[in-house]
Each structure stands twice: as C-alpha cells, then as structure tokens.
C-alpha cells in the first residue's frame, strides 16, 4: 500500500469518481434526508462507516465466498454493520434515530456500499478496501452536506437547528420537500462536471479521460 495509491483513491472518491455526481449512486438518500443538516451528518457518517467496514470485511473473506453467492454474502455483511449502527443510534441519539426512521435501515440498500464491495473490495487488500470505503463515504458526505446547507438555510432559515437568517425571512417550502434536492443535485453535477471538463481540456493530449464508468449495479430506483 504505497502512499501515492492511497492519495489517488482519496482524490478519486472525493472528486474524479465521486459517488454522487459521477457515479450517480445513493441518490435515494440524497433526496430523503438532506433537508436537515444534523440528520444528514449522522446519516452520512453511518454510510461512510458501513462502507468502510463492509468493504474491509468482504475484502478479507473474499477468497472464502463462492462467486455465485457473493451478492447474498455482501448484503448479509452490510446489513450486519447497518444493524450495529442502528442500535448505536437508538442507544445514544434516540431523537435522531426517530427522525431518520426507516432511512437508517435503508442504508443497506445504498448502492455506494454494494458498489464499492463489488468494484473495489473484490480485487484489493482489506486495509486498502477500508480506506476506499471510508473515502467513498466522505465523497458522499461532502456533496450531501453541501446540499443540506442550502436546503436547511432556505427551507428553515437555520443551520444545525440554529437560527441564522432573521425571522422576517420567508422560508422556501419547496426546499423542505424532496423535489428541491433534484434541482440541487443536478446543479452540483453540472458544476463538478464543468470543472472537470475545464481541467481535462488542457491535459487532453497526455492523459486519457479520468472518469471511467464504474462497474456497479444500476442505480436503485428512488423508492424513498
């Protein structure tokens, strides 16, 4: 595990191959939980930890899993960690747990986790997979937090529940509702892809396109 490899994984997961705006995974939870910064923070930490630990575990036991049933085993391992997170939340942050409701359990279905397990942990060492899972979660977190800042600020006039804008401010009801996340995610994607395209232009001569299509299952339907 060389240092350059860890750095390139970090950069990939945060920017050039970000799970949200390049891979378009985990959109379901992006729509559901981002109208409130605190919930978003808890949720994204949960996803980051689950991805990290499940990638680690799956990478460690990858030789023992028959290819044909690997998906079932992956889901089993992922649900194990999600249940641990759910129990921890219920024990230490009961309010948040209640507000997030079914979404904690639905972390299991978050495509990012399965995507990393399939695309990375299958072919890499446990520690590197852990790092990859963690940074993927961070990339997810960065985008969701940015969206949540806009949504909570405009939707409630608060940040982390603290009043930021004057009471005369008229809240934008649409920001509390899921559709606004569609607009905002689209804008983030637009901005990020523009930035990457602008950067890729001068470097086009010497290097290929950095963002390859990930070999992951198709994005889940937004059922939440």
């Amino acid at each position: 595990m060389s240092q350059s490899k860890t750095m390139s994984i970090l950069k990939d997961n945060l920017w050039t191959n970000n799970p949200i705006f390049i891979q378009i995974l985990g959109i379901c939870s992006t729509l559901a939980v981002t109208n409130n910064l605190r919930n978003t923070a808890i949720m994204t930490i949960g996803v980051a930890l689950t991805t990290a630990f499940s990638s680690f575990t799956l990478s460690a036991i990858k030789e023992l899993i028959p290819r044909k049933v690997r998906m079932i085993v992956q889901v089993l391992v992922i649900s194990f960690y999600v249940i641990i997170i759910d129990i921890l939340l219920r024990a230490y942050l009961p309010d948040v747990s209640k507000q997030l409701g079914p979404y904690v359990g639905l972390i299991i279905t978050n495509c990012i986790i399965m995507g990393r397990a399939e695309a990375f942990a299958q072919a890499n060492k446990p520690l590197l997979s852990f790092w990859d899972g963690l940074t993927s979660g961070l990339g997810y977190m960065a985008v969701l937090m940015a969206i949540a800042v806009v949504r909570e600020l405009l939707g409630f006039g608060t940040l982390f529940g603290l009043r930021v804008l004057p009471t005369a401010f008229v809240p934008w009801t649409i920001m509390i509702m899921a559709p606004s996340a569609f607009f905002l995610v689209a804008m983030v994607m637009w901005w990020a892809k523009n930035m990457q395209a602008a950067k890729a232009k001068p470097a086009q001569g010497k290097a290929g396109t950095p963002a390859a299509k990930p070999a992951t299952p198709p994005a889940q339907p937004a059922k939440a």
Binding site: V170, W172, T173, I174, M175, M177, F183, A186, W190
Partner: protein
C-alpha cells in the same frame, strides 16, 4: 440582441390589452412587476446565451409577460425575481434554450414560487378596480386587505356573480381576470394562426366535461360555468396550453393533450389542497406531450402500412405474412 420571432410578437400583441386592463384593475404596481419579470428574465437568458454565442429569443418576452400576469397583484417583488430566474434558468436554459424545453417555463416558475411561498402568495390578492384605488391605494394594498378569489370562495360553497367573472371584476392573478379580453386575444391568435385552436378548444371541452361530470355526481364545489370562468382557466387554455414548444404537434395528440389538461385542472381544483390546479395540469400535459405525439405517429404509420398492404392485393398480403 434579440432573435426575430414574429409568432412570439403576435402573442405579445395579444397580451398587451390584457396587461393594460390589469393596470386599471390593480394599479401601477402591475407595471413594476412586469418590468422586473421581463428585466430579470432577459438578463438570465442573456447571460446563458452569451456563453453559447446565441441570441436572446423573443420567447423570453412572452414568458416574462405571462409569468408576471400570473402572479397575484400584491406579490412581493423579490418573489417575482426568484420565480422568473428559476423559470428561465431551470426550465428553459438548462434544457438548451428556446425550442428545447420540455416544460413551459412560465408555468414552471409560477409553480415554483406558488409552492415555495404558498402562504405569502395566497394572501397577496386584493380587490380590483380604479387603478388599485378600490383596494385602498395606487401602489398595492396593505396585508389586511387581502381578498378571497372566486376559486377560494367556490371551495367554501359560495359563488361569484357570472357578470363579474365575465368582466374580470373579481380578485385573482394580475392578468387572468378579464374573460372578454382573453377571448378576444384567443380570436386574434387563432386568426393569425399563432395559436392552435384545437389546443384551446380541447382544453376547454375537457374542463367543462369534467366539471359537468363532477357537478352531476353531486359535488357542489365543481360549478361547470364558474370552473371555466374563475381562476386562470381561460388564461392558461389560451396562452399556456398553446405554447408551440411544449405542446404536441400532431392533430390527435393535440386533442388528447388539451382534454388531459382540462380534466386535470378540474380534478386538482376539486380534490387537492391547492385551490388552483392549472399550473399542475399544464406540467402534467407537458410530460405527456411527446409521448402523445409518438403514439399518434405510430398509429398513422401502422394504418399506412396496412393500407398499402391491402391495396397491393393478394400478392401483397402474402408478402406481409
């Protein structure tokens, strides 16, 4: 700076008397709303088109005017700016500008602000007449004077005199009131072949049919005649459902499109939380517009192949089998 679009100019000519009349109804504030809507709309489109090297379309003038006319008269000015910027930016330019937008931008902007600021928008209506003096002052009414629109009254079972509805002497959005002027505008647009009469007629027929069905089923809120005259039904039928970009192009599809919009308007007005359903109906119609076009095209194609097969006689039939 502007692209020349004679069709859009004709729509503007048709809107001018309506805008002038609304100044009489609600006072000079209307002009401020109009100016802001047009200014912010043009600026937004200009910033986008400048980057692409394109010209600002004259359609943005129509969008800006339609948007301004669909606002309640006492609308806070910052809401106008947010709405029109959203309309041009998110509903038009991100799709690639004029001619490529799936949804009618004016309606998208209107719905965005109506949903976001439902409380403010709902209390921004005031009584019409005498250049705004009927409500107290030349420059818009204070909050306490907000008036109930005919649609809001209908929900509680009251009705507004039909004559008032026809003349436009009732609270409502800035430009939706005068049935007379809108009908004249519709006639002008149809005669100059700017708007497709099928779209207007089918929307009205769809709405009327649905209202009659509801009314005869014993739902007192759906008064057939008032359903058509109150709210922005006619305004939307004439100016929004006929949007050449977001409406279907084939004959059969246009009938279905209008009927869909008309029925959805009445359904939403009768059963949803929002008193006005025209905007939702147009967006739903827009969603299905290209599908309807495709269905009609496919059907005609199938008919044609069948006809040619039949005319070719037995040999043709065998070949087709």
């Amino acid at each position: 700076m502007f692209q020349k679009q004679p069709m859009m100019r004709k729509v503007l000519y048709a809107l001018a008397p309506i805008a002038a009349f609304s100044v009489y109804l609600y006072g000079p504030r209307v002009l401020v709303v109009l100016a802001l809507s047009l200014g912010a709309g043009i600026l937004t489109e200009y910033l986008f088109e400048k980057k692409k090297g394109g010209k600002v379309s004259e359609a943005v003038l129509v969008t800006g005017t339609l948007f301004a006319l669909s606002m309640p008269p006492a609308v806070p000015l910052w809401i106008v700016v947010i709405g029109i910027v959203f309309a041009i930016f998110m509903a038009k330019e991100v799709y690639g500008g004029f001619g490529r937008n799936v949804f009618n931008p004016a309606i998208a902007g209107r719905l965005f602000v109506y949903i976001s600021f439902a409380g403010v928008m709902g209390t921004s209506f005031y009584a019409p007449g005498n250049f705004g003096m009927a409500a107290g002052s030349l420059f818009g009414a204070p909050d306490a004077l907000s008036a109930a629109t005919p649609l809001a009254l209908m929900r509680t079972g009251q009705s507004t005199p039909i004559v008032d509805l026809l003349l436009g002497m009732r609270p409502g959005a800035i430009g939706e009131s005068s049935v007379l002027l809108i009908t004249l505008a519709a006639a002008y647009l149809i005669i100059t072949k700017t708007a497709q009469w099928r779209l207007i007629l089918s929307t009205i027929l769809g709405g009327a049919a649905m209202a009659v069905i509801f009314w005869s089923a014993g739902i007192q809120k759906a008064l057939p005649l008032e359903s058509l005259l109150a709210g922005s039904f006619l305004f939307v039928a004439v100016f929004m459902s006929t949007d050449p970009v977001s409406a279907p192009k084939k004959k059969g599809a246009q009938w279905a499109y209008g009927a869909l919009i008309g029925t959805v308007i009445v359904i939403i007005r009768t059963f949803s939380l929002f008193p006005e359903g025209t905007s939702f109906a147009i967006l739903i119609g827009n969603t299905f517009a290209s599908l309807l076009d495709k269905l009609v095209t496919d059907a005609t194609k199938r008919k044609q192949t069948r006809a040619t097969v039949a005319s070719q006689g037995n040999t043709g039939k065998e070949a087709a089998q």
